[in-house]
Assembly symmetry: C2
Homo-oligomer: 242 residues x 2
């Protein structure tokens, strides 16, 4: 309900593109056209359009118009980079049955090695969680989470088995805002082979990153180790003018 105007416009245009009203290589109505149609100023329209541009949906062309360059995914990818999406959300979006199994849930104090890896201060109290995610019957993700205890009080194994983000955002009323991630390919460890259904693969795709809350506190560090044939990250970029 309390939704800003530019977000409504953004959503409206995005839907028009995804449902195929405007197709690949089509030109959108002009900004002035949208201005009249939505009953707002050009600035507000432009804000919505710039969002879609940064997501790789649109290509504005000076003097010509705004072209659609979006093409529907082939569906093979579970995850889409460019958003902060929890496992539950991503799985739900693709409509697949998923299960989460909690392997380890304990409280630790960050030592030097942990600090270097995660970015938390030495001595910080952390929840240390290991989880395996199943899509269907297959173990496809091995998650290692570090949560700052002071920012995520009351975290429990039962919550970890469900959705931690739902707990943080819903129950604790926390707002998750920004994330920084590193993507690498790595040789599978003994533990990967033990916990994941790698089949003939002997390597994994690792996504490691820090997450901040709205108070600017880094409260989470997570590494997700993915079975390589089930993941594909999609990202869009706009070239910087020098």
């Amino acid at each position: 309900m309390p939704q800003s105007k530019y977000e409504q416009i953004y959503r409206s245009i995005k839907e028009d593109i995804e449902t195929g009203l405007y197709k690949y290589n089509d030109f959108l109505p002009s900004e002035n056209e949208y201005t009249e149609r939505f009953g707002c100023t050009r600035n507000t329209v432009r804000r919505a359009l710039s969002l879609l541009t940064s997501e790789g949906y649109l290509l504005p062309q000076h003097g010509r118009g705004v072209q659609v360059i979006y093409r529907p995914d082939d569906g093979r990818s579970l995850f889409t980079i460019g958003g902060i999406e929890s496992f539950a959300e991503a799985a739900n979006r693709s409509g697949r049955k998923t299960v989460t199994k909690v392997i380890i849930f304990k409280q630790i104090i960050a030592d030097k090695k942990t600090s270097l890896k995660t970015g938390f201060d030495i001595g910080a109290e952390l929840y240390y969680i290991e989880r395996v995610r199943y899509v269907g019957k297959r173990a496809v993700i091995f998650d290692t989470n570090y949560f700052l205890v002071s920012e995520t009080p009351g975290l429990q194994p039962s919550i970890a088995a469900d959705s931690i983000y739902r707990y943080l955002e819903g129950t604790l009323g926390m707002t998750i805002t920004t994330s920084r991630r590193r993507i690498t390919a790595q040789t599978a460890t003994e533990r990967d082979r033990e916990l994941l259904d790698l089949n003939h693969f002997d390597f994994i795709l690792s996504v490691a990153g820090q997450v901040f809350n709205s108070r600017g506190v880094m409260f989470e560090y997570t590494e997700s180790r993915h079975v390589p044939d089930q993941v594909c990250f999609v990202e869009s970029a706009v070239r910087q003018k020098v």
Copy 2:
């Protein structure tokens, strides 16, 4: 020279952060402070700040201020996702000696299989290029490029050995704008093993993507297969409000 005001401000603040004038967890001067300092309106300042926010440098907090969440890289990563950067540019940025060797340079017509993979129409005339990139003495990237002949006339092996982007942007006056990339981990092929110095690794990190020019024409499809221990992609995301 012809550089907009918000870009100058963006650059100025970015430099202040990267040189350490404002450190991790610090708060920037307020928008009004910057407005006076740069002699412009708040809108222009906010535009610069929002750029840095989307790059993961800043976390604005309603009512409190704008916090710095940037931390310098550990330097292991050659490439940074979130930008469209050519091999030459990325290598130059990290200050390493590089060589490019052209393996194949020929002209082809897109068949059904090629079309499906690249997104070009069937029958399109394409330059097909295979290149190997060396950092120091080691072969670290195996590039496969498809360029639309009609949009990149005069492309030659000698250019491919140097920098194709420099040719396109410099000589042809083309503007490269938007790109969409897919990142996956794959088992090394026989050709990978032959061309790359994989050492004990038997997998690669693949980055495949389409590139558009300023006329909205998709003129390039490229797959880069990276030796896994030399690459790391960094990406930053802002969580969408439902």
